[in-house]
Subunit: 334 residues, 4 copies
């Protein structure tokens, strides 16, 4: 498996640099007969796009996906689905200053050490813009899953502010994707204050999956929690993954854990139980702060922007697990 | 990649049930010429074995590894290395009662739902005993890594007790694998009190890697943090993975994160920087509590037992990343 | 995918050297609920064993398979199935002379160059004895396939003698596995004459698959013909693979090809049509000839011995293709 | 590994239908620092293009490759390299008649059975046009190989005509890619006669690799001969693969085989010896004959057109084997 691919049966290959000609993705293994067209990607691409809210940078990207293959007369054919998004806002001049100055806290230096060459334009391959590919693949993945599966990400925490309520309809109604209508304004204020100071803050994204099919995940190395962790940590800003009670398990007694139905997060023995999944991602504060933030694009809080990306990664993992389970289940039963 | 295999170039395949004839592992992709014999596995198998300390169950397993292939005249040949450990303590009668009674909190029910059949003897494939395979593979993996890499796991937290010091020599001197000599006795007392109450407690294992080579990890899906997360979460008791500042990043400002050299945990842009890795695993409290704990084997705290397993998984990930990096680096440089 | 593993969903990992402690195989991805015990392997291991016929060497191997995992109360559980066969006839003294003398025509020299070390005992990993692992996996693979699939290999050609009839019941009734009752005696005589001269001869094995399910094979790189070719050429003695009309297509007109229903060999566009598969393998003459043959084990013709191995590889490929097709088919159809 | 991907470390993912918006390829795992631009693909794309010679159809494709990613300032960066070629000659009207009439001898019917849907436009994914992706990847693969490796394909046989000489400079000087200057005119005449009769003919392509590095290929399932066979048979028109003496081994004595240095074709024990590789592919006669040929595009002999495709597949296999060997070699040697 190549390093820019993910998934066994539902396999996603990502390519493209933030300021190259295009970003793109090839989804191989999507079953035939699923309704799909390029317009299907637009809502999620819009959700991913920075510059739409108080929390994220003012960059204006128009992401127009082109569906190059794998769909015929409005339905998937079983052939690989390739989608590209041309880069419209290349602005390479902005980045000329970075040629000899890798940015602190970014991947610039590690990439340069690893490869001996470096595409200094806006992070190149390590840019958050690569997640366009994931969001597109996530749209396809959701269509593979059985009807009734709902994947809902939200900002569970931003800095000191922790959501207490989960109202799905609230998520897209505020700039930080907070599901707690009481807390959302305070989260927004917090982020705005940081913008003024050219600082940034981290947070926690929770992804809930309602209607999760049971029996997803393969023992022993591809437990559902393991492939979800892999998927989440493959996103640049993610510094941790947990499910259910998360790192709080460190302080729980076995009797407390057993008494709380949500503690296991819908996963037992690494396999989905059919209960709702509760997945957590720790998001580090953005590295562009201080002088760097003043001069360029500045995201005081990338938590809301990561939400659709982690939803997409969740969908990709679940679609793959679903196809894998289908591949093996039932055959030869007595 | 099959679900019981892990790794691309350094590939580990695990097999065996807790009360089957044997547990085993096949390591494929180990370079030729490395000194190896069956005795090399004994120290780590001894560290993994339960029943050796106050914290874990009284089960006495004698794990005698048999080296079946891949070594000739004391050196690896490049052929796959197979090692098995016969099960000596099968005691199947103990488990007959479990045939029709899947244990709450264990994988019993999810496995039964998934496969339609269930090996009810002590968890079968989902038993912690499967980690014998991982520990053996970890011993081989360490030999693949460059000299000077040290992988040190310890109990950073057990319940309310959080280690403040890191003294490597202390780790194996106490029953809970605590690296803080001041705190260790209190952790031990805490666990003993829970044993008396047939309850259990969770914790946090930290794995530090000293002498980590830079440039390990492959963008974008196989970032080092992503494959480490996959490896850690593939261990049954692990409920979360994080590195560096961990889930604390949710409360950090960008300025605070940038000012703390340990916050990034030795990984930048998903690739190792050459600094020490700091990896965290949230360990849930063991499920065998109350009446179940009274009747059978009881681990009030599996944190110390998970330590050598997570060290092994770390070694496996690093060995694979090391071979992958070597495979690509340098070629074609101008 | 490690180099000693084969297959995506039905995945076979082989290990062991010809004169090491044991040969073995791990089959991962076998569905749960299939009846299996160690005795199931005996007939195919007996067919594979050399020394049973005029055509092959007098080596007496007693292959007693041990089923280590993946089966509980007589049925597969979905866990990896590990099987080993201990080496009883190690006779390492025989091979001491080979330590500094790689045998011409064998893999000895290429392995030594590749790995810098060499297990000189009877070919080590490159020995034909490794095929024990394949034959065992093939037995499991056949059980995964739908009922009614029959995989029948036979010696289509040995030296100048080409079978004209295909009588399945004849195959096991003669020492060369010829399906043509008229020709079998002449093939046997031919081989015996070569034995006396310490020479050897090549041939062609044909594997026919009756009752092949349609739609097996995945475009574009994993066409059924491509994975079959990979599987066949992975067997040491195989120098070529073809199907249907084979290399004769070079001389056929398109009109002739279209008029002959057998020309396509049951594969169209790389995918099985549901017609019988006709697969061909060119087998090179054994390398142990002349002085080497006088001093050691001598196979004047390994064609009959390759038959069960190629049947096994065919079963493995078909089982994997069957699971892959099942994984994708039907989902999302309008 | 997804079915539209090939290779472990040097990994090629192909996408696109013959009459879709574009064909494309993603090459992942190409080392950084290799000089590359879009113009580098033009010569091989020109060689692949049909309609340039007497032997192939009159279709005029202008293949203008667009390099979307993975190259910065003229050198590869280690990121995935994506290249697309837009379809200019879609002519969908031509194919409307095929909507309800799958063409005999083509993959149309098998694809329809497998997927339940069918892209009837010129074969869709099963079209020979997909090989554009392979040729592009092959250009990159050649740059990964050590200097001095030369991969030379030619028409060894067309119908009854078998080349006796191998003059590399002759290959591109005649319309059938024959390396025998004496025979080339007769091959051309043969093909022209078939064109007039709307019939077609098969042949044999030989690919020679001069300057092959030794030690390529991984035991046991990824022997060099096995991955080459996989690669060759993944090409639509290929009905067989062999190396060295090919299917002639069936008639050779061991003494004859040992006496002929070319019989082993540069591969021993599945691993390259460092001698020239001699690879053979049986090419079936094109299916478009008779009435179908009269109405549409007609290739009386696709042998010359397959030559650059098989060269590309050879380069891809060798580049992957080269990176794999480099990844493992030498480490840990005493």
């Amino acid at each position: 498996m190549a390093a820019n691919s993910f998934g066994e049966l539902f396999s996603v290959t990502s390519f493209g640099e933030s300021h190259g000609a295009a970003l793109g993705v090839v989804v191989d293994g999507c079953p035939a007969g699923i309704a799909l067209d390029a317009a299907a990607f637009l809502p999620e691409l819009a959700r991913r796009r920075p510059g739409q809210s108080v929390a994220t940078s003012a960059r204006q990207e128009r992401d127009l996906p082109e569906l190059l293959s794998g769909v015929f007369e409005g339905r998937t054919t079983g052939a690989p689905i390739a989608v590209i998004v041309r880069t419209e806002d290349q602005r390479p001049a902005d980045y000329e200053a970075l040629r000899h100055a890798p940015r602190a806290g970014h991947a610039d230096a590690t990439y340069a050490a690893k490869y001996g060459v470096r595409d200094h334009r806006g992070g190149g391959r390590s840019s958050g813009r690569e997640t366009v590919a994931r969001v597109i693949a996530g749209v396809i993945a959701r269509k593979v899953l059985p009807q009734g599966v709902r994947i809902l990400g939200h900002a569970l925490r931003i800095g000191p502010h922790v959501a207490r309520r989960f109202e799905p309809d609230t998520i897209e109604s505020n700039a930080v994707r907070c599901a707690d209508p009481d807390l959302a304004p305070r989260m927004v204020d917090h982020v705005q204050a940081l913008r003024a100071r050219f600082d940034s803050v981290g947070g926690i994204v929770e992804v809930r999956v309602l209607g999760t099919p049971p029996s997803l995940g393969e023992p022993v190395f591809d437990k559902l929690k393991a492939t979800l962790a892999h998927a989440f940590l493959s996103v640049g800003a993610v510094q941790g993954f947990a499910f259910g009670a998360g790192f709080e398990v460190a302080t729980l007694l076995g009797s407390e854990y057993a008494a709380d139905p949500a503690a296991a997060g819908g996963i037992l023995g690494g396999i989905s139980t059919g209960e709702d999944l509760r997945l957590l991602a720790a998001i580090k504060p953005a590295s562009s702060i201080g002088a760097v933030a003043k001069g360029g694009r500045h995201d005081p809080c990338i938590v809301p922007r990561v939400v659709p990306v982690l939803e997409a990664m969740t969908a990709i993992v679940l679609a793959d697990a679903w196809l894998q389970h289908r591949a093996r289940a039932g055959l030869g039963s007595p």
